[in-house]
Symmetry: C2
Subunit: 498 residues, 2 copies
């Protein structure tokens, strides 16, 4: 180990410890903290964020990062940490520390404001907070932007390096061109599918039991992870021995079921990161897109696959004899794949899913690049849903308030969901060439598939970018055509089209 | 505000924020964290404890504390914070930082080692860890001791200033002299009490419902607090808008019930601390003894009082019609006050309780002052239980492994339980002079009693010591005779003695 890197480790450990503490506060805030804790806890988080800022931007850190670069002789993991820390330094050093801390305090509270507003279906109660969050994010992106880069491109870079508005416009226009008419065809000409039995008297207790079974079945290790309840399902990663997922329960059993498999996919990614990388800056998923590729791979390519249910459907029927006793496997699989253009992204079928993301992408561009007035959001949102999906939300909880992301300041995150789905499809077609994918699922061997993903993706953390991972695995650069092909093949079959 | 104090606040905020983060990790560790998280999380806690050490002992802190003392002009709260920080500085500056961090890492893991050993009734699995904890605590006390003070006196000072071994020997010998023969009299000559109905098929779900009802009924505010489950019930305080209690469930309904009221008492103390004190060093309970005085006041003087149950017992019967439908109020109250010398401190009746504490006090003195070999603990423990309570534990889980305290390095804490009970009795006799205590309880007005305690004790945090509080409220110095009087009056009546 290079001498400077050895010294750097002390400062890196400090930054990571404070970051881990803030992550725990975030988890706690979303899952357990009492209603009135917000203000004082956000003060604590503000102070911690100041310490994080100091840890990353202090003179010793700068000096040691520079020396590490000059000395060389670093291992791949060490070099990745130096690179990640240098990027983090570059990201935040241009922000005045007091603004950085103010923003941390603001977002620590904004999620509660959002949750309450959503519960009360009151967009106006959230609008002023959202406006502040947007203003900060634009200001920060302004501090960081170089060479005339656009603000939204600066933000996109946080989640998926190498995918600018130019790339995304192209990607989403392909989606629009191919999927909008195909969706219409499915809805108009496809066969009728009954999914009424998925909604009903499914007790929370049994849904939780099923969720825990499925999470464990796909490989989420409960000795190194926990599952809890929150308003919006999410995954938290403290380190590769402590990864946490949440879900929520409604009377639609498939809502919680697939959110559990989705979050388990995120969790499995983080649990699979190499021991020498965890608790270091490089010890996290390669990018948000790659993360979503894994969660959506588990949710859809595995979880909505008929083969997946072959060995376990009987067990599910036994858990819900009244609701599913008379529903055979084929009807169940059709139901969980039913295409119904709806209002809620997290409950969308795979086919309309990317249109939900497209809507958010277009609105984010308007908010960041065109100074769209926050007050106008509910209407714009409704108009776009009407345009692309043919439906309008009746209230903001079904519309603009449905997602937590903006309250956390995550502008530029949404495209990752669609990109991730496309990454997943590309991986899927490649994997089918190297293994009997559906055969493995039918034999209950999810572990072989999971191990392939761990071996080829998860273990590396941020050692490779998402584009590199795709290239190394599939031999090709990112190619969204696979995603279109996957959706068309799948739904033509289910809906008996052609 | 004095100018130096203004600057001090930045450093104080930093120390408090890191401490609050470590408190959250501790809570999380005891209630939720996955089994395998311990090692990596203890690394994070080790780093944070180093940051805390630095925050308290840095040159700026020293300089500003000195300046604040010299400048004067501080408010009572400010002066208390300067005093508390100065004491903290004095406490830890003599410890080498690496040892301080090692100890934080050790105790972060020791509680899991203890929990597992307890579960498996295997003292040997815990002994090496316990030995390390004791060695550290003795070493640290050695660093801190001055003027020939004894090591155990240094430790006692952490929990109850002004109560040395000399005072405690006197206190406990009064307990022994008065209570050992009285306990024998109650057991031998008192009437027979049936409490069999308290054990049985009490579902966890209903026990939790009752626990939440009672906690709220005595005044634990669930908008500013939460309740969870842990191996050993405890209270965690992040700030006065976020206080957390835990309980555990067995088939004895009174075990969880009174642990909830006990922890709610701790919680109510912390929730009652003034807004200008919370999240500052002076913003916590005056001492451990005063803390236990409040928890045990709620548990026993309120919670095991017949008057307390008058307005609510019908509700309890309705919750458990099969178990309590035929048990009238008097039989219930007798049962929850039944004296049975037992093995478990937290489940002890009020009368034998202080003997459990006495045993721990005597053993701690032996461990710290007489270098008692850790290996011998189970036997010594059993011998003392036989001597004072006439029973021997069958396994270490019922004996030396029952309490969490030593795994956390809390040597010197136990005496607070007995002192607190004695503080409580002194407060009780004084309060009876100023209010119709039992009448209020019968009218369901716990809030009047709670408000009295908030007004006279809770709000002050550490602005006053426990002795000062007792003096200001009752006009007398600490007087343990009230405790003896309370126990004798109460149990003579219940057991129809004299």
């Amino acid at each position: 180990m290079a001498k400077s890197y050895d010294k750097l480790k002390t400062y890196m450990d400090k930054a990571m410890a404070i970051k881990t503490a803030m992550t725990l506060f975030e988890w706690d805030n979303e899952t357990l903290a009492p209603k009135e804790a917000g203000e004082l806890t956000s003060h604590v988080i503000g102070v911690l964020s100041g310490e994080y800022f100091q840890a990353v931007t202090c003179d010793e850190m700068r000096k040691l990062l520079k020396q590490c670069g000059e000395e060389g002789g670093l291992s791949q993991a060490e070099a990745a940490n130096v690179r990640e820390l240098s990027q983090e330094l570059e990201q935040i050093e241009c922000i005045p520390q007091d603004e950085y801390q103010d923003f941390a305090r603001l977002t620590a509270r904004a999620t509660s404001v959002w949750a309450k507003a959503k519960q009360e279906q009151d967009f106006d109660a959230f609008a002023p907070t959202l406006k502040k969050v947007i203003d900060y994010q634009k200001k920060f992106a302004g501090y960081r932007k170089k060479n005339g880069k656009k603000l939204y491109d600066v933000m996109l870079d946080d989640y998926e390096k190498g995918f600018s508005m130019e790339n995304l416009d192209e990607f989403f226009s392909l989606m629009k061109k191919e999927l909008v008419p195909f969706l219409k065809q499915v809805v108009d000409d496809g066969k009728q599918i009954d999914d009424s039995f998925l909604t009903g008297d499914y007790s929370e207790e049994k849904q939780e039991k099923l969720g825990r079974f499925l999470a464990a079945y796909v490989g989420f290790d409960f000795d190194r992870g926990v599952m809890a309840v929150s308003a919006h399902p999410f995954t938290t990663n403290l380190h590769n021995k402590d990864v946490r997922i949440t879900t929520h329960y409604t009377d639609c059993m498939d809502s919680s079921l697939f959110s559990v498999i989705h979050e388990a996919g995120h969790g499995i990614y983080e649990l699979g990161i190499r021991d020498d990388l965890t608790l270091t800056p490089a010890g996290q998923g390669a990018s948000m897109g790659m993360h979503e590729s894994q969660s959506r791979f588990f949710e859809n390519i595995i979880g909505r696959n008929r083969a997946f249910w072959v060995p376990i459907y009987k067990k599910v029927q036994e858990m819900f004899p009244e609701q599913l006793g008379d529903v055979n496997l084929d009807r169940f699989v059709e139901a969980i794949n039913k295409v119904t253009p709806g209002l809620i992204r997290t409950e969308a079928d795979e086919l309309s899913y990317s249109l939900h993301v497209l809507i958010r992408y277009e609105i984010e561009k308007m908010l960041i690049e065109e100074n769209l007035d926050v007050e106008k959001l509910p209407e714009i949102w409704a108009d776009k849903y009407e345009e692309y999906l043919g439906i309008r939300p009746e209230n903001p909880a079904q519309g603009v308030l449905q997602d937590i992301h903006w309250s956390q300041g995550s502008f530029g995150y949404f495209p990752s969901y669609a990109l991730g789905s496309a990454f997943g499809a590309q991986l899927y077609y490649h994997m089918k060439k190297t293994m009997d994918f559906e055969g493995l699922l039918e034999d209950g061997k999810v572990d072989v598939i999971r191990e392939y993903l761990r071996e080829n993706i998860h273990q590396y953390g941020k050692l490779k970018t998402s584009r590199q991972l795709l290239k190394d695995i599939t031999g090709e650069d990112f190619n969204p055509e696979y995603y279109v092909r996957y959706l068309k093949e799948k739904y033509k079959k289910i809906y008996a089209l052609d």
